[in-house]
């Protein structure tokens, strides 16, 4: 589904200073996979996720989604692809504070090329029901707890029925119990909707959630752990990347 081929990302900090966040990463995420991306802070996980979504241009290398090179597309095509195929869950509070829960959930439908879809309100309600917030339709983000806000974000990420869900440390600001609930939700979505999920975390306890764990350090993928045999590989195999 997503392929990164020898991708490097270097940020220009100005005055001749640069920092390389991702160094020559080659990675393939297959359709239907639940991959967990782990690593310490600053290891390049978030940058890798952003590269996979086409949110930042690689300094070198190639990123493809379903065989399409993201950086050969126009801004409009790339935005459309993101809108229709990818759902995002961010680490930080990403709901628009001026919109209600319902409006936040339907926000991505504004950007579709087909204009207004009569199914949207129904789908938004269904998504909110799925994340257990059907009674918070008209609440504003400030009226919701951090856990509830993150659930709304998950509902929003699903509104356009994407094939890929990218989650960047979605539970980092949550207490243990809410974290567990959110992770259960991800597992349900993966299993129930057949979504491809790539989840970034620095919490090793969440590794068990995924089918594959990719560990990053210093901008490189340093190891991959296969938790099941779904990918045709033996379960529990750890492969260290040279």
């Amino acid at each position: 589904m997503i392929t990164l081929e020898d991708v490097t990302k270097t940020y220009d900090l100005g005055k001749g200073n640069t920092v390389t966040a991702v160094r020559g990463v080659t990675l393939e995420i297959a359709a239907g996979e639940f991959a967990v991306l782990i690593g310490r802070s600053g290891s390049g996980k978030t940058t890798l996720l952003n590269l996979a979504a086409g949110l930042t241009r690689p300094t070198s290398g190639r990123v493809t989604l379903d065989g399409v090179d993201l950086w050969k597309l126009t801004d409009q095509q790339q935005s459309y692809l993101r809108n229709r195929k990818i759902g995002f869950v961010f680490q930080f509070p990403s709901l628009l504070p001026t919109l209600t829960t319902y409006e936040n959930v339907i926000l991505p439908t504004m950007f579709g090329a087909n204009g207004h879809d009569s199914q949207e309100p129904e789908r938004a309600r269904a998504m909110l029901e799925r994340v257990g917030l059907s009674d918070k339709l008209h609440s504003y983000p400030r009226q919701l707890s951090a856990g509830q806000q993150q659930r709304v974000v998950i509902a929003r990420s699903l509104i356009n029925q994407p094939q890929l869900l990218l989650a960047d440390e979605p539970t980092s600001n949550l207490d243990e119990r809410t974290e567990s609930e959110i992770m259960d939700l991800f597992r349900d979505l993966h299993a129930g909707l057949g979504l491809t999920v790539v989840l970034v975390t620095h919490t090793r306890q969440l590794v068990s959630s995924g089918m594959r764990t990719i560990e990053m350090a210093d901008g490189r993928v340093v190891s991959e752990i296969l938790a099941s045999a779904d990918l045709g590989l033996e379960a529990g195999v750890t492969r260290t990347i040279p």
Binding site: T56, S79, N83, F88, F90, T98, E103, M110, F111
Partner: protein, 397 residues
């Protein structure tokens, strides 16, 4: 939800910023419209007064120029005299096609024999007149008979519904002239015959008699031949007729025109200061807002918004704020002009005519456009800058 609704939600959610931007638009629109209405109103009024006078050259007694302009522009009654024989002398000057005398009179202040206190009155000679008759003919094809008068736009009949008491003589108001915004709107026009009748009746009926010195006139209006050099004719008049002063119509109301020019200069200077200032202020506000909302706009990009959508959403917000601010500003400017026009006229010393509805609508449209253009222009750079930013970088702290 559409772009407009999203923009409106953002506006209502960012109160202080929205108020400041709307206030800038309000100030720009209000000042621009107020100044435009004032200047155009005054300029139109001067043009109309000159047109209504209908003469190429107006000859008055030397030293009476200011008094005459004050009477015509501000309705301040004036009386000055010069020998009637000047009419014939003027007619003999080469290049002069027609001449017509007028007498300028005033009603009494606080006298029961006059319905209107201190009204400027103009007596014309229907035999030679070429200035009053053309616009009288449109309303009264037969002209004014003895005892009949026509008033400026502000004049209304006070006695028995159709008459006005002037020096104890009840004259009949036959109609009103189109407004000019000048003193002519508060003036009364009648023939010289009527003027002499009023003077005669005033001897017995008025608290003070109306005195029209025999063989004297106040002003002589001169019509020049087509293609004639008015300036040369005015110089000839000045040289050949001692004690009179010829004013070319182009030079009429010079002090008001000068006042208008200085007002215009002032407006241009103020506008040159506040317009760029407003644009810079709004630009800075939007730059700050765009930085403050970097993450939010980055999220929009991640959710599938194009660069264009992000820029458009900021510009739509700016346009809506400009529209709201400018609408209030325009309302206040129009209200101020309507409520305080007399105060403005008297304090600035220039005449003023309210614009026609069509002209007002056009000026309002231009005011709105100017305010919206200012705000959109100010928001354009921040909008483009933020829309071009890498979404991943925008979402970083």
């Amino acid at each position: 939800m559409n772009l407009l609704q999203l923009a409106w939600k953002n506006i209502s959610g960012n109160g202080l910023r929205s108020w400041v931007v709307a206030l800038c638009a309000l100030v720009v629109a209000a000042f621009a419209l107020f100044a435009t209405l004032l200047l155009r109103g005054a300029a139109t009024s001067l043009e109309l007064a000159t047109d209504r006078l209908g003469a190429d050259i107006v000859v008055v007694p030397e030293g009476a120029q200011t008094e005459m302009e004050g009477a015509l522009l501000m309705g301040v009654p004036a009386q000055f005299w010069m020998p009637e024989e000047n009419v014939k002398k003027l007619a003999a000057i080469p290049g002069v096609e027609a001449v017509s005398p007028q007498v300028y009179l005033a009603t009494l202040v606080g006298a029961s024999c006059c319905s209107v206190s201190q009204m400027f009155m103009i007596g014309y000679d229907p035999q030679t007149d070429f200035t009053v008759r053309p616009w009288l003919d449109k309303q009264l094809p037969g002209g004014l008979a003895r005892g009949e008068v026509i008033g400026g736009d502000y004049i209304s009949a006070t006695e028995a519904g159709y008459g006005i008491l002037v020096y104890g003589d009840l004259v009949t108001l036959k109609g009103n002239l189109e407004p000019t915004g000048t003193g002519l709107d508060q003036s009364l026009f009648f023939t010289l015959e009527t003027a002499h009748d009023i003077a005669h009746i005033s001897e017995t009926q008025a608290e003070e008699p109306l005195v029209i010195p025999p063989n004297q006139v106040s002003a002589i209006l001169v019509k020049t031949k087509p293609g004639a050099d008015n300036e040369k004719i005015a110089v000839d008049i000045f040289r050949n007729l001692p004690g009179v002063f010829p004013i070319e119509s182009a030079n009429l109301f010079q002090s008001s025109r000068a006042q208008l020019t200085s007002l215009l200069n002032m407006v241009v200077i103020v506008m040159a200061l506040i317009w760029p200032l407003a644009i810079v202020l709004i630009g800075m506000i939007y730059l700050m807002a765009a930085n403050e909302r970097r993450r939010e706009l980055g999220v929009l990009r991640a959710l599938g918004a194009t660069r264009r959508f992000v820029a458009e959403s900021l510009l739509t917000e700016a346009s809506l704020l400009a529209l709201c601010g400018a609408s209030v500003g325009i309302f206040l400017a129009v209200l101020a002009i309507y409520l305080f026009r007399r105060l403005i006229v008297s304090s600035l010393g220039v005449p003023f005519l309210l614009p026609s509805p069509a002209s007002l609508a056009l000026e309002i449209g231009i005011g709105l456009l100017l305010a919206m253009l200012s705000v959109v222009l100010a928001a354009l750079l921040p909008a483009i800058k933020i829309s071009r930013q890498d979404p991943a970088i925008a979402m970083r702290e």
